[in-house]
Amino acid sequence: MKYWNMEMENLKGDALHALQAKRLRWTVKQAGNVAFYRRMLQEAGVRPEDIKTVDDVQKLPFTRKTDLQGGYPFGFFAVPMKEVVRIHTTSGTTGKPTVVGYTRQDLDNWSELIARNLTMIGLSDEDVFQNAVNYGLFTGGLGFHYGAEKVGMTVVPSATGNTRRQIEMIDDFGVTALHCTPSYAMHIAEVAEKAGTTLPTLKTGIFGAEPWSDNMRRVLEGKLGVTAYDSYGMSEMYGPGAAFECPERNGLHIWHDMYLAEIIDPKTGEVLEPGERGELVVTPLVKEAMPLLRYRTGDITMFLEEECPCGRGMKIARLHGRSDDMLVIRGINVFPSQIEHVLRSVPEVGDEFLVYVDRVNHLDEMTIEVEMNRSAFSGELEDLTRTQNRVVAALKDALNLRTRVQLVEPDSLPRYEGKAERVIDRRGDVL
């Protein structure tokens, strides 16, 4: 077992709690440089010196995504602009994006996290790393780029696009590790298959930025010949890498010296115990440019109760999806990842799907278009109908919802290089 920072990664018990309390106190003080937090802390009657233990975090109010949007563009910066050396933004699908600032120390902290993650899964300066994610304002590109360089890996900043060229690079440069979104990984696998290469040098896949199921892990590992690891993070927490799977691949270690994580009931705000599923709330402990207090991520997960054999600290369960991705259909919560999971269990259909949500006579109707698997086509209408019914039944089982399923031709649905957009919600049109 290799560690990038053994001391911090294995920190436990009182030593960990003392460090977390000290850093939390510092963060509350740093947040005092932001007008929003000055007011919030005053109203809550909390001063930095009131933070004596980690549990004192519960004295603090929550911060929501809408609060951050209200501060657009620089309202949440806690340092003078001359100390801000980089800016990223969230994708901003709803309203204004959130602008995230980084000091030089923030960038160092972030690449330290990535270096820990890559080392944890057995990568080293011997590896060639292709970073096939969007560079630019999206945090996945530069974040992993600098972290991989810190480890000393040979970094191929391929970004997205030109998938044939991506595949040539993997083969020609002897790429051993690939980072991209799971949906782009699937596309790369398809194109590689058609190009007739098995990508023999590739051994490690790092997939993140959108939820992906264990089923998809098996498919990607099979098609790409990699061991696949899940990465979690968000711009508000620097970016990807805040939590990452270790070789056990049973939950993600959230870096406890840099983030204080809580799981709460999203309705009541009550703090939940390990094993109870709820919303992840994060207080970064070392963020200088943009400290956050009890930030509600909207992501649903839980702390895993059992200690990890690898010796590192607290783990969170893999994420089912962001609450932003969550659809409420006739009062039932549905994550696109659940649909994906179901479709992958039916061999007659392919990997690509699109969900349409409509409101018909005041009732939500969900229609799922799924591509047929070319090799499963027998030529018989009955077999197609049987497949269609199987998918409907499997979805009913998993979601407790009746859905309409349309079988469509292979390769007819759009492919995505970044985050896949699998849901078209048309209910707003008639509301």
Binding site: M372, R374, F377, S378, G379, E380, L381, E382, L384, T385, Q388, Q406, L407, V408, E409, P410, D411, S412
Partner: protein
């Protein structure tokens, strides 16, 4: 007995129920100078299967497959109908007595007489039974 000469390759094409799919299939075949001798469309909920007898099945398969269509071959037989009352009943009886199921059928106007294209669950048995009972089957050569 060797039934292969009476086994005719029908092409079956998956098609979404949306405008222009049938035209795309027909147009592609025409461009390749492939003649469609008979066809039928079976529809279900949102999609269908276009079934066609063509003079060059291999070429049709290749062309449609290359265009991204899902295509497969289906073995069918072609029975020449006797132009007498009860011809269809007679044919159906022969097959049902032998416990052969007809999955679907469609007509083809042959040169001399009406021809019934049959998709059955046991092709070899159907060929043997029909010939043994004095029926007439068209051979695959007659379609090329």
């Amino acid at each position: 007995m060797d039934t292969t000469q009476y086994t005719i390759k029908q092409i079956s094409v998956f098609s979404e129920n949306k405008p222009g799919r049938l035209a795309a299939i027909a147009g592609a075949l025409q461009a390749e100078k492939i003649n469609i001798l008979a066809f039928s469309i079976a529809e279900a909920n949102g999609f269908g299967v276009v079934r066609a007898l063509v003079d060059k099945p291999e070429a049709a398969y290749e062309k449609l497959n290359a265009m991204g269509f899902m295509v497969s071959f289906t073995d069918v037989i072609a029975v020449k109908m006797r132009d007498v009352p009860g011809g269809l009943f007679e044919m159906a009886s022969i097959l049902s007595e032998a416990e052969i199921n007809i999955e679907y059928s469609y007509a083809y106007s042959g040169r001399e007489a009406a021809v019934l294209i049959l998709r059955v669950d046991r092709v070899d048995a159907a060929v043997e039974q029909i010939l043994a009972r004095g029926g007439t089957l068209l051979s695959a050569d007659e379609f090329s």
